[in-house]
């Protein structure tokens, strides 16, 4: 096996957390290498450059790796899961194909046991992360509006995305009901920002932004990290983390772009492979010393998977709205976020208000929901749908349950022969009650907005793609995989910085918090460089 020159820090994965980590650690002047299994994606590759832009959302830019099937993807057996897995393998990871919605966790999300008597408290709190949230907002470039009474104070550096016709339509309905709403924070630049051009309302944010207005780490953190000396090596798929005679991480065995097996030695190894990829890698790194997988003395690697059930409730207004022109999500509501025992469940959800979609996807959605018939009446009915769509997402917190887990599939393998992950996941009764409550509230809002043809999708195929909880953080090595600053209890030079380390999931899109956590862990490491392995 070919060996490489030793590095100080080896980061595996270049997505949300790996990029933030690399940038933050770069000022130590250590030799830092990141291995990424995917490619750089050029802005000219994104679908909105071409006439087939809507179709490609269902092919090479689908958010499901199983559907997308690029040679840089690995398959996931999610047949036994109520929700399907979404991710992206390339420089920037999931940030390349996220919606750029940018809520933070709430302070109460870190103290669910103390406040609501369920699950576990995190070993850190919101206030420890606050300055890293702020730093990350500057780095990613956030558009939003200060003063929201539903969330702790924050100061987005750019003005919010426009309400548009659709946002104003929702706002009138919410005001009529007397419920909270606020323009969403997003990482879509509304002004020129740090080399990025302002949004021009391509309306197709999820499968990559050709304008570069949407922040993904390939255009935010990575150029700065590389300029600061970090090396990023693409098309390198890591098979396993090896350990030395002292039980410390020695480095990683990976396959390079030509399929050659190589060994990369490192002083410190940092996993940033998301809540599926990280437990997969740890379980694939089993050895005589670590027979149940690396860093898995607790038995919790792969367990407590949380995926954020996310019903979508839609309807159609009489008025002509924004359709697919403009960023997808325009508002949020925190009206039902904090626990209220009278609702019959604990914890809560964010409501996210979406615009419509392009002409082809409007037809696909309409047909799937039974609103668009085939035959002579197709054209008349289609014109009642296009540019009239309203849709509200119910971003539910699902709580950790050990039976929801990632294991290694006994049969399925990726193109390098590495065992693929298998997902076993069910939605709990508490979450189901929360989902139904949210669906009913969304229907009230749409009715207040004058919408008809209401339709609720309880689980949306492949959405939202939030992969959390499978290597949780905590003080107790018997009840957690990493400590309160991301270091594995079992392997003192092995760190995890992605969504795996989440203790609970909150009811928000996770990327803001994933990156704030990565910056926090990097800061903790920098403060302890002389005693990092003690």
């Amino acid at each position: 096996m070919a060996g490489n020159e030793r590095v100080d820090v080896l980061i595996i994965g270049s997505g949300a957390s790996g990029a933030a980590m690399a940038w933050s650690l770069a000022d130590t002047k250590m030799r830092i290498l990141c291995l990424e299994q995917g490619d750089w994606i050029k802005s000219t590759d994104f679908p909105s450059n071409g006439r087939d832009w809507e179709a490609r959302r269902h092919t090479d830019f689908d958010i499901s790796p199983n559907r997308r099937g690029r040679d840089t993807d690995y398959p996931v057996n999610d047949d036994n899961s109520a929700m399907k897995i979404a991710n992206f393998n390339g420089v920037g990871g999931g940030t390349v194909i996220y919606t750029a919605h940018w809520p933070r966790m709430h302070p109460s999300d870190f103290r669910v046991k103390s406040l609501d008597g369920v699950a576990d408290d995190w070993p850190i709190d919101y206030w420890a992360l606050e300055r890293f949230y702020d730093e990350n907002d500057r780095m990613m470039g956030v558009s939003g509006l200060a003063g929201d009474p539903g969330v702790p104070p924050r100061h987005p550096p750019m003005p919010p995305i426009p309400l548009g016709k659709t946002g104003a339509h929702y706002a009138k309905a919410m005001n009529g009901l007397g419920w909270h709403w606020w323009p969403s924070d997003t990482t879509i630049a509304t002004t020129a920002y740090d080399g990025r051009a302002a949004c021009i309302n391509l309306g197709h944010c999820t499968p990559g932004c050709a304008q570069g207005a949407k922040a993904s780490t390939d255009i935010t953190y990575w150029p700065l990290a590389i300029r600061a000396g970090v090396e990023l090596r693409t098309r390198c798929r890591v098979r396993e983390i090896t350990t030395d005679e002292h039980g410390m991480a020695a480095g990683a065995i990976y396959y390079d772009a030509d399929g050659r097996e190589r060994f990369q030695p490192a002083e410190v190894v940092i996993l940033a492979c998301n809540g599926i990829g990280t437990p997969r890698l740890l379980l694939n790194s089993a050895s005589a010393r670590f027979p149940n997988g690396l860093a898995n003395s607790s038995g919790l690697v792969g367990r407590n998977l949380m995926l954020h059930p996310w019903p979508i409730v839609s309807g159609y207004a009489d008025e002509t709205l924004d359709g697919g022109r403009g960023p997808i999500t325009c508002l949020w509501s925190k009206q039902f976020y904090e626990t209220d025992p009278s609702r019959g469940f604990v914890r809560g959800y964010t409501l996210q208000f979406g615009r419509g979609t392009g002409p082809a996807n409007q037809a696909i959605i309409g047909a799937a929901a039974g609103h668009l018939p085939w035959g002579r009446d197709h054209h008349r009915r289609y014109r009642e749908l296009l540019d009239h769509r309203l849709n509200i997402g119910v971003a539910c917190e699902d709580l950790p349950e050990e039976h929801n887990r990632v294991t290694l599939d006994p049969v399925l393998k990726d193109s390098n022969g590495i065992p693929a992950p298998r997902i076993d996941y069910t939605i709990s009764e508490n979450t189901r009650r929360m989902m139904e409550h949210g669906i009913a509230r969304a229907e009230e809002i749409l009715t207040e907005a004058g919408a008809t043809r209401l339709h609720a999708s309880r689980t949306v195929l492949n959405s939202p793609g939030h992969l959390l909880g499978t290597a949780r953080m905590g003080y107790d090595p018997e009840r957690s995989v990493v400590n309160e600053w991301g270091r594995c209890h079992d392997v003192r030079n092995l760190f995890i910085v992605d969504g795996s380390i989440w203790v609970t999931s909150g009811g928000v899109n996770p990327t803001s918090t994933i990156q704030a956590l990565a910056l926090y862990i990097a800061d903790q490491m920098k403060q302890r460089l002389a005693t990092l392995f003690d």
């Binding site: 994104f46 909105s48 450059n49 071409g50 006439r51 087939d52 809507e54 179709a55 092919t59 559907r67 099937g69 302070p107 109460s108 870190f110 103290r111 406040l115 709190d125 206030w127 009474p149 539903g150 702790p152 426009p162 309400l163 548009g164 016709k165 946002g167 104003a168 706002a171 005001n175 909270h180 709403w181 606020w182 021009i200 309302n201 391509l202 309306g203 197709h204 050709a210 304008q211 022109r325 403009g326 925190k334 904090e338 626990t339 209220d340 392009g358 002409p359 082809a360 409007q362 037809a363 696909i364 047909a367 799937a368 039974g370 035959g375 002579r376 197709h378 054209h379 014109r383 296009l386």
Partner: protein
Amino acid sequence: MDNNPETGLSATELRDLSDIAGTMIPESPAFGVPGADDPAILGDIARSLGRDLALVREALAGIAAKSVGAFAGMDRDRREALINDYYAGGGAAGAALGRVILAAYYRDDRVLLALGMEARPPFPKGYTLEQGDWSLLDAVRNRPPFWRDDRSAAAGKR
């Protein structure tokens, strides 16, 4: 029977696809649009089957079986009823058939122009999005904070 190397379909399957697509989305002089069996649109559909080829072939076979091989000879009402019934219960195959037809149909220049849309990709021109009425937010601005502050003794109360 040889399949077309570009589409993966046999000549019979392509003819069946044309009959089915034209039934699903027929030409409409009233709306000024072609049908999905228009040669240019049908060609686009056939060329874009890609990873959906197996499912679309399954759908074609399913519809043929449902019509006892006589789909093209059925009257229009029966064809439309059969297609709507098949799509509603057709699972992944029906969904794939609908998706590839709609994705190609709603990017045709004539269809987009008839809808009052520009026949172009979103980038680089983009679109205009009006700001909207921000005074609507006044009703919310003056609400007191209602997120739970875990540092206060009142945490847990709202």
